[in-house]
């Protein structure tokens, strides 16, 4: 553990069965809008947990509630079993990139980090270390107001790493970064998780999470839609099918129907077969002597799996107004 050096890490990494961030029935109502609705989830150390949802789904609000910046209307969220408010040295325990440019435009990058460091008795040399780490050393003395969005993100990330914390929250960290920067952030997140830290990162882009996250928590309209490993998300998707081309479609379709598969005929003459894998389809085709020109398993992209899940949530919302009203009445 080179990073932790000779001090005890704030949270001893223990990926098996530990929960670092725990939300229980978390809700947040702003005047007329229920931004977060009865959200319950756990975030484990040692993996990158993606926090996924369309814009306005309540991701940032949830992150602010974890940080104690916004008070929940009801429910509860803890970090390592404690409320954020009760952390002794918050920056040593939780680092967060909440939103880019939450920085006084007239203050230099170094001064911004220094004032944060001082509040948690972090030595001045650590400020230079994190500036080096995010590649801002050469512009450390420049006013943050002159920074590009990407540089602002890097400064925010530097602030998150300042206290060498065991829990890290990143709200849309790749926003405004160039491809180089995006790759750098991905590696950073994975590296932090490998060290046993808890890494919780929000994004509205499934494609980004597919490359970075091990596990995803998906929310829509403030509600939990799914929490599962990224791999499972694909397996459970109804979008998995096998594309088949044959000059004798009628014979094969009859046989597939008989075997219990669902078959769709596409405009280009191909068949889409669900509920049966490629091997079984090939065997069946041989038995009925149908010639195969193509037999290709198609897995849906994560993006499609995500769209499918969020669509469900919208249908669910439309169909359940009475339940939502009743739940609101109990509060």
């Amino acid at each position: 553990m080179l990073w932790f050096g000779d001090r005890r890490p704030p949270h001893r990494p223990n990926p098996e069965g530990t929960t670092m961030i725990e939300a229980r029935s978390l809700s947040k109502r702003y005047k007329d809008k229920l931004a977060v609705d009865n959200l319950t989830f756990q975030v484990r150390p040692g993996v990158v947990t993606g926090f996924l949802g369309p814009n306005g789904a309540g991701k940032s609000t949830t992150m602010r509630m974890i940080m104690g910046l916004d008070a929940p209307t009801s429910g509860d969220v803890t970090v390592d079993g404690r409320h954020y408010h009760d952390l002794g040295w918050p920056l040593h325990e939780v680092g967060a990139l909440l939103e880019a440019k939450a920085i006084h435009p007239g203050r230099s990058a170094r001064a911004h980090l220094l004032m944060l460091a001082e509040s948690n008795r972090i030595p001045r040399r650590r400020v230079d270390e994190v500036l080096e780490l995010v590649g801002l050393t050469s512009v450390a003395g420049r006013r943050a107001g002159k920074f590009s969005l990407g540089m602002g993100q890097r400064l925010g990330i530097a602030g998150a790493l300042l206290g060498d914390p065991g829990v890290l929250l990143f709200d849309e960290p790749v926003n405004g970064l160039d491809p180089d920067g995006i790759r750098w952030v991905r590696n950073l997140l994975k590296g932090l998780a490998r060290e046993g830290r808890t890494v919780f990162v929000s994004s509205h882009l499934m494609s980004e999470m597919a490359l970075t996250a091990d596990e995803v928590i998906i929310i829509g309209r403030g509600r939990l839609i799914a929490q599962r490993p990224v791999g499972d998300l694909l397996d459970q998707s109804a979008q998995r099918f096998v594309r088949v081309r044959t000059p004798q479609p009628d014979i094969l379709v009859a046989a597939l129907d008989g075997a219990g598969a669902t078959v769709g005929r596409e405009d280009d003459g191909s068949l889409t077969v669900r509920g049966m894998d490629a091997t079984a389809i090939g065997d069946l085709a041989a038995r009925v002597q149908a010639v195969l020109h193509e037999l290709s398993p198609q897995s849906a992209s994560l993006e499609e799996a995500y769209m499918e899940l969020t669509e469900e949530s919208i249908e669910y919302h439309g169909a359940q107004p009475m339940v939502a009203a009743a739940a609101g009445g109990n509060r």
Binding site: G5, P105, R107, E129, E132, L188
Partner: protein, 279 residues
Amino acid sequence: MTVAATSPLDAAPSTRVPAGRYRITDLMRSEWTKLRTVRSTMWTLGVTIVVGIGVSALATGETRAHWSSMSLPTRLAFDPTRVSLTPLFFCQLALGVLGVLVISAEFGTGTARATFAAAPRRVPVLVAKTIVFGLVALVVSEATAFLSFFVGQAMLTAPATHATLSTPGALRAVTGTGLYLAVISLFALGLGTILRHTAGAISAFVGVLLVLPIIIQALPGSVQNEVTRFLPARIGEVMTNPRGVPLHAFSAWPGLLLLCGYAAAALVVGGVLLVSRDA
């Protein structure tokens, strides 16, 4: 901009977690860094000192230039201490703006979120801010008051009368004016904490100092006299005057105490709102 292909693992460890929890002294150090690393601080403090001394020099210089044409009663009524301190009324605007900015800029720029992420207990943050800004305001206010007094008196060469610190009431007037400026700027900090928005809080501050007296003048005479004494501007007026207390005013120290009460009330209300509202 390119980034070195370093992983975070490559950085040498340099942070150790101290025992206990963050203290008010840690927060004060942080607040001091915040205060000294933005230009608005230097601007407003610079304007305070320059305007204070400059206008004092102008006012006393004007008197000296017309001394020979002044009537005897006017000469006898002339108070060199007061004339050198009255310009400090302009200073309270600059210091008040800084008092507002110290907190409103945090909310305006989003820095407040970084601040409260680092120190989630908000009352100690406000206390640290109040102490650090209060001390800076006090030092600058007193320096401005004394410098204005000395520069003003130096302008009043013979035959014009001038004062020294040993002139009766002069020392109280000079130190009191500095105290008034420091306390009124803490009142501005309180307004900034309550209102959060820079423009709104500055308007409220200017309203209390300059507009409220005008509104009160529209009231019937008897009511006016009862109310005027409670105005911060009236309290400041008494402060700059070394010769006793005008009608319808509190005397110097009770007045200052009342002003401290205003500042404390604004800060307490601000503190309560700071805790109860989302950052």
